[in-house]
Amino acid sequence: MKARKSHFFKLQDSLFKYFLIACSLIVVGLFVAIFLMLFETSLPSIYQNGWSFLTGLVWDPNNNIFGALPAIAGTLISAAVATLVAIPLSIGIAIFFTEYAPARSKLVLSLFIDLLAAIPSVIYGIWGLWIIAPLIKTNVEQPIIGAIGFIPLFSGPAYGLSIFLAIVILTIMVIPIITAITIELLSKTPVPLKEGMISLGATKSETIRHLGLPFARLGIVAAVILGLGRALGETMAVTMVIGNSYYWPFSGYSIFAPATTITSKIAGAVGEAGGLEFSALLEMALILMVISLAVNFISRSLIKRTSKRGFG
Amino acid sequence: MTTDLEYLNRINAMIAQMQEINETLGAIVQDALKNKKQGLRSTAYEFSKSIQLKEDDVMEMCVGSIIRYQPFASDLRAVTVAMKLSYDLSRVCRYLYNVIETLDEFEVKSCDVKEVSALLDDAREMVRQSLKAYFERDAKKAAEIIKSDDSIDQRYRMILSMHRTKPTSKTECILFNGLTARIIERLADHACYISSEVIYLVTGRRTDYR
């Protein structure tokens, strides 16, 4: 009787294991399917457009001419600039949180940081579109254009909806990601070392500069790359505030001009697209996916390295 | 084998002191016996009293060590052996005192005490050797000491039979010799007890001597 029961358990055990493996396989299969679908659907475009897809500036569905460079450039520039701006701000917040913020305010502060990350991007979009765009247009763009408009980077006219606004919104969206990881890294600074430095008479800012930041450096790099990934893939907020003009930065260099990104182009065009345009849009998506996965991979392997690295 | 622990060293130092008392008293007793001195009773009593105090100290030290260090194996045996040794040594001292006592009781000026004196020398040597075996943890030597006890017993019985072998002697002398020999025989027994403890200490096995 007992032996039979054990046998029964063994069967259940292996059934369960294969069930879990099957579920994992489904996930793997879905991932592969996404990739294959993107690749397969973009094949006509890859075949038709060749390398000129990457260098072309014109998107003309009527004549079947598709060049993705403005969208790729817009994506890379907006994401890179937003992330760069976010770095010092995020580190500043993280230092304030770990070193200077009163213990009681930490709970509220960390909730704020979480909320900043949690607020749906479409809400950032509506806020940027209806509140910030007019404000920036009259209070930032016009004065700057008036003062230094002769520099191509700041030349007019002021649209409000622009790559500049997209970068501002993206910066706000990227900050919580970098901040959260940096806070975690800084609060993991080995306490004995920290105490040692304080006992030698170092101030908090010196401790952070000479101990906390070097200790967290690799992790912060990973966090920054993770933030970059988020900025690259962000769709809604960018689509709503970037103005969707396809030629920037090849029409002029002004940061106050409307532009486009891969995501906003896809979001705007895919509903009505068919045939070769649809294929071209998916090729763009494939490029975005490859960039995103690469960025994601680099960031995760850096994070893994920091968590493996032993201290003391 | 094992390095000695501090508390065992202290216990051993106290045992050595006890042995010193016995050596000194032994010399006094031997001298008194040979020269038939009397009136040393109170001096001997002082020795006996001081060794009893030492015995108490050893006991206290041993019990304290058991509680504090919870010794096992050879350490445990060392402590229990030390307790027994201290008792044996105090008994030895007591017997030496008994010889002085007996010497005081009898008029022995004309007696022949060569036999008992020699017996006392040998018994004292046995105690000395058994202690040496203890400090050197020499089970072989201890076994030899136990064996040598047979000759002591034999000589003791010879002295007892003096009233038959030498009927010309004074009754008082026969009595004195017999009593003293009996005491010394008991003293030698304690040397054997010490030796058997040494064997137990070293080998962990009990001999059925006691």
Binding site: S6, K10 | A73
Partner: protein, 251 residues
């Protein structure tokens, strides 16, 4: 003295490192056997070989026989059956935090699903009583097992092992994480347990082994150096290594 466990030529490895070398020992029935030895001497590996927990570690390998009442547990027996017959109590109390005190006691039976609710509750009460925990927790039976004190948790774990009605119960330094009062309770319990079952207990505390065990096994570098009645081991061990270990003169 009936032999409960007959260990024959037991060898165990972690990858290339041999953790047990040719262990031969006959553990007597209904007695407390203490397993002592310096850290890393293989005592944990030894008892983990008895309920086939050793083989779960990556790189682990076992050879030899362990006969439980004459039947080899490495033979045709299922490991799960072995573990039901040979209970185990761990160094750190590990009650299931998701179960109540009462459920923890009968966790094994409940998860295996062979008993009715009424039976389970009776078994739970009975085993709590037999480990002397009933009076302390009878009002908190619905509370989480993790809410008890360390000593209570450990007795709860013993009750949990007992509820399976094991033929042998293995204990891996069950009181090393506990305060003296709780330790004393565990020791009392162990002494009581031998009326019902065979106990094998690892302890790093030589005094504890002397207090509670009938037999003592001394391990060193994966070898069984000496196995004898506890009184003999602690008064006059035969092996120099045993002597040096229990007198604290190692290394």
């Amino acid at each position: 003295m009936q032999t409960k466990l007959d260990v024959q030529d037991l060898n165990a490895w972690f990858y290339q490192k041999q953790a047990l070398k040719n262990v031969n020992v006959k553990i007597p029935e209904k007695m407390v056997t203490a397993v002592i030895g310096p850290s890393g001497c293989g005592k944990s590996t030894f008892i983990r070989c008895i309920n086939r927990m050793h083989e779960l570690v990556p790189g682990a390998k076992v050879s030899g026989k362990v006969l439980l009442d004459g039947a080899d547990i490495y033979g045709t027996m299922d490991p799960m059956d072995v573990r039901r017959k040979v209970g185990m109590v761990f160094q750190k109390p590990n009650p299931f935090p998701n179960m109540s005190v009462a459920d923890n006691v009968v966790a094994g039976l409940k998860l295996l699903g062979t008993y009715k609710k009424q039976e389970l509750s009776e078994l739970s009460d009975a085993n709590l009583k037999s480990v002397g925990l009933w009076e302390e927790v009878k009002d908190d039976l619905k509370k989480s097992g993790a809410s008890l004190s360390g000593g209570q948790q450990q007795r709860l774990c013993i009750a949990r092992a007992l509820a399976m009605n094991p033929e042998v119960i293995l204990m891996d330094e069950p009181s090393s994480a506990l305060d003296p009062a709780s330790t004393a309770k565990i020791e009392e319990l162990v002494k009581k347990l031998k009326n019902e079952t065979t106990v094998i207990i690892i302890t790093h505390n030589v005094q504890q082994a002397a207090r509670i065990s009938d037999m003592t096994a001394f391990f060193y570098l994966g070898e069984l150096i000496e196995f004898d009645q506890t009184a003999n081991i602690f008064e006059s061990p035969k092996n120099q290594l045993t002597e040096r270990y229990i007198t604290g003169r190692f290394g």
